[in-house]
């Protein structure tokens, strides 16, 4: 193996990333060649320096703060669910009833309008029917 090729592979050799055949060739070359052995040793020193790269640390309660943040976000996203579910379903149904003009069934309300003439029920159904057809 030539020095130029070996030199290119020394980094991957150091990282145990070569297949066994190439790894053996590089190891053999490093054993024979002073220059390449020097490269290998320098790369090892560089690794040691990289491990000593100054590190920063987050606040000890970072995880807890983030947990609270996530909980708050979840609460905002699903805020409507804080109302008990059966009550929410009832309110939803009631709103839909009041807004009945949106639904196609509102177009044939006459059959349900058996209230006495000019009673509140009669007027309500009449209005609904008119707006549904309009």
């Amino acid at each position: 193996m030539h020095c130029s090729k070996a030199c290119e592979k020394i980094s991957a050799y150091l990282d145990h990333e070569l297949d066994s055949e190439l790894s053996q060739q590089v190891a053999h070359h490093i054993g024979q060649c002073d220059d390449c052995r020097e490269v290998f040793q320098d790369f090892q020193k560089i690794n040691a320096t990289v491990r000593e790269w100054p590190k920063i640390e987050l606040a000890p309660d970072f995880a807890r703060q983030l947990g609270r943040m996530v909980e708050a976000k979840e609460g905002q996203a699903t805020g409507r669910l804080s109302v008990p579910w059966p009550l929410w379903r009832f309110v939803q149904s009631f709103i839909r009833l009041l807004d009945a003009t949106r639904y196609s069934s509102a177009q044939t309300l006459d059959e349900f309008n058996d209230f006495p003439p000019f009673s509140m029920g009669y007027i309500y159904f009449k209005l609904l029917d008119q707006s549904g057809r309009g």
Binding site: A12, E17, L18, N47, K55, E57, L66, G67, V70
Partner: protein, 206 residues
């Protein structure tokens, strides 16, 4: 041509590593179900590797802290749809890397407030005082640290992930979204540049 075949230097640790991955998968599943305590445990486990990886990439402490927070919020949001195609840690580092890359693009568009730290002539980094061997060694270490910070972002990220997080080239290629040959080249060039600096310093010593 790059010949890559990971040879595990610590075979007995293989099972341990696998079980750690299982724990991570289970934790992610729990987070996906909205388990806050699982989320906090997960954050505690990965907060320092993630913040330091980001810090090495963006070189700004406060940006690193903000991005770390963002990484874990994305983990929480994405945990429900997480598919175990690789290690959980790789997924987390991928999120971190993507956020870092976006942040740097944003900073560059705005005029890049960080100083230009491209690696220059090693001689420029030399200090006049080389009287004692101890001082020289310390200075060399400091210069190497400075030179590490001056490496291009991708080289720094690849070298950090390899040396400090013990990721394989394959895993790094997934995190950085580049080829295996690209990873090998990045790490080799990073070491070569640092070595040039080291040799320049040693050569200039009396």
């Amino acid at each position: 041509m790059v010949v890559i075949k990971r040879q595990s230097p610590a075979a007995p640790g293989g099972n341990e590593s696998a079980s750690m991955e299982d724990i991570d998968f289970n934790t992610i599943k729990a987070i996906g179900r909205g388990d806050r305590s699982a989320f906090e445990l997960f954050v505690k486990k990965y907060q320092n590797p993630v913040v330091n990886f980001i810090f090495r990439y963006v070189r700004d402490r406060f940006t690193a802290q903000d991005l770390t927070q963002e990484v874990f919020l994305k983990v929480f949001q994405g945990a429900g749809e997480f598919e175990p195609r690789g290690k959980v840690s790789n997924w987390v580092f991928t999120i971190a890397f993507n956020l870092c890359a976006n942040e740097l693009k944003r900073q560059k568009r705005r005029g890049y407030p960080y100083p230009d730290l491209s690696l220059g002539d090693p001689a420029e980094l030399e200090c006049p005082a080389h009287d004692q061997a101890g001082t020289r060694k310390k200075e060399l270490e400091e210069d190497l640290m400075a030179a590490l910070d001056r490496l291009p972002e991708n080289q720094r990220a690849a070298l950090w992930l390899r040396v400090n997080e013990d990721l394989s080239y394959l895993e790094i290629s997934q995190v950085l979204n580049i080829s295996l040959a690209g990873v090998e080249s990045l790490i080799f060039r990073a070491r070569k540049q640092l070595r040039q600096l080291m040799r320049g310093r040693n050569g200039s010593s009396p």
